[in-house]
Amino acid sequence: MKRIEVKLSLAAVAPLLDVAKLAADSLQNSLAAPPRLDELDPEFRAAWQAELIAAQGTEVAALLALFDREFFSTGVVAFDEANAEIIMRACSALRLRLRAQFLGDVPDDQLESGDVRLAGLTDPVRRAFMCYIFLATIQELILHHLDSVVLGETEAEPEAEAGEEEGI
């Protein structure tokens, strides 16, 4: 099994986990990226959203569980084929929520480039931004080292068929 272990600075990461936990708590009954489901009837839409929220809850719980008692003794987190996908999705959900909750005043182009002047931010916003970057770094680590693991089992049918119907 392909596996990567990352040693993190406890002093740097611990304050960011508080922010991540805040964002996670706010996601218990709502979606990080609320979908537009105008084309669905109300009953189907409710079931659709409920399943997305349940899946999101599982992902976020898996991410937070990485930072357990063992992490606080070793500073090490590990990613492998068992958790790579779910952790990447959890990072995406938390980043979206952090953006909505704390980073609304940061222009999109600065968020996309990461070129934000930290001195100009209030303390809560600065910590949220650092957490936002931390979660992106986790995603990049997984993308860099475990992308083949994530892609190993694609959800779509073979590309030829998808391409045939794609019609773009």
Binding site: P35, F44, A47, E51, S92, L151, E155, E165, E166
Partner: protein, 119 residues
């Protein structure tokens, strides 16, 4: 990955029961009748909208994973989303469009369903 709601969707529509394929696969049947669901419901598009949060490399991976795109195709669609604000990533039957839309939303991409006016 569990998607019971999508199975529920299939039961709800039941278009295959309404138009069993063995009733229309004759030599005189028009070619388009081989897709009775399209005749009943039209084609649907799965559109991914831009967001300033998800990493470009993440979006490329999701397109590969969910839609089965090769890397250049996934990258082309990602850039279309990034530069134009949206990209049509799939067109076809409603039920399958719902499946792709739902799965892309599980990856926290802004995916929507639209009727394809061209069909």
């Amino acid at each position: 990955m569990q998607k019971p709601a999508l199975r529920g969707c299939a039961r709800r529509r039941g278009t295959f029961n309404a138009f069993p394929l063995n009733r229309i696969q004759s030599s005189t049947a028009p070619q388009h009748a081989l897709h009775p669901e399209l005749a009943l419901e039209g084609a649907w598009r799965v559109v991914v909208l831009n967001d300033p949060v998800n990493l470009m490399s993440y979006v490329v991976l999701v397109f590969q994973k969910v839609l089965g795109f090769d890397e250049p195709t996934a990258r082309r669609h990602m850039l279309e989303v990034h530069e134009l604000g949206r990209s049509v990533v799939w067109t076809g039957l409603r039920e399958k469009a719902e499946h792709y839309s739902y799965t892309l939303q599980q990856w926290h991409l802004s995916a929507i369903l639209e009727p394809d006016e061209a069909h």
